[in-house]
């Protein structure tokens, strides 16, 4: 079973509503990634953190998406105004370090449906 915990497993929102999902990375993993997996199973990178600091994020994330990883609290990804095209599985992954040899460990994801 995954040690990266994502909640909720399922999230249903109307267009224009906020959608917020949470992630508890594996203990001792300061590096956190968020990916979007669409209905065709394609992965899209959204944002990554080291501890509380955002390191990289894509343009889409900068406009409607916000994310944070506060100290001693779960990480979160929030979509300010949901659109139908945001319907997807949102995967959180954590890693021990930045180095490329370090494996990303994934949670089971939050499946967002925007009606």
């Amino acid at each position: 079973n995954s040690k990266v915990i994502q909640t909720p497993r399922y999230l249903v929102k109307g267009q224009g509503q906020k959608a917020k999902m949470r992630c508890i990375p594996e203990k001792g993993h300061p590096v956190v990634f968020w990916y979007q997996q669409n209905k065709n199973n394609e992965f899209k990178f959204l944002i990554n953190f080291q501890n509380q600091e955002v390191l990289q994020q894509i343009d889409m994330t900068e406009k409607r998406f916000s994310a944070e990883c506060p100290s001693n609290s779960p990480c979160s990804l929030e979509i300010q105004s949901s659109e139908a095209g945001d319907s997807a599985l949102y995967l959180c992954a954590s890693s021990r370090d930045w180095g490329s040899q370090n494996t990303l460990y994934f949670g089971a994801g939050t499946r967002l449906s925007v009606l």
Partner: protein, 114 residues
């Protein structure tokens, strides 16, 4: 930028037969390659990883060899089981450079029949 290509969208096999799932990649830097497996409604899990040229790596009956000359990291198994039915993703990280995200291929669905 980096890219990963998986040519097969769906592979259907009978239990006990061998399988090879193709993965090729493009990167400017030295690569680190991964295979992840994702069962239905579960988290993607690491199956194999390698950055060593021409060295076979194995786990749970699956194996792959990174060939930098052909930019390939094909996944193989000599005898598939029903429980191997899942989505398989090849992924790439650079060994240098500031952007260390994992770049995924489109995935291959393996369906094993009795």
């Amino acid at each position: 930028g980096d890219s990963v290509t998986q040519t097969e969208g769906l592979v259907t096999l009978t239990k006990g037969l061998p399988v090879m799932l193709n993965c090729t990649y493009q990167t400017t830097y030295s690569p680190f390659l991964f295979w992840y497996v994702q069962h239905l409604n579960e988290a993607p899990k690491l199956l194999l990883k390698s950055s060593t040229d021409n060295k076979r790596t194995e786990h749970q009956g699956f194996y792959a060899t990174l060939h930098k000359s052909s930019s390939s990291f094909h996944l193989q198994k000599s005898s598939v089981q029903l429980s191997d039915s899942a989505l398989y993703f090849c992924a790439l990280r650079e060994l240098s450079g500031s952007f260390n995200k994992l770049t995924f291929g489109a995935g291959t669905r393996l369906a094993v029949c009795p």
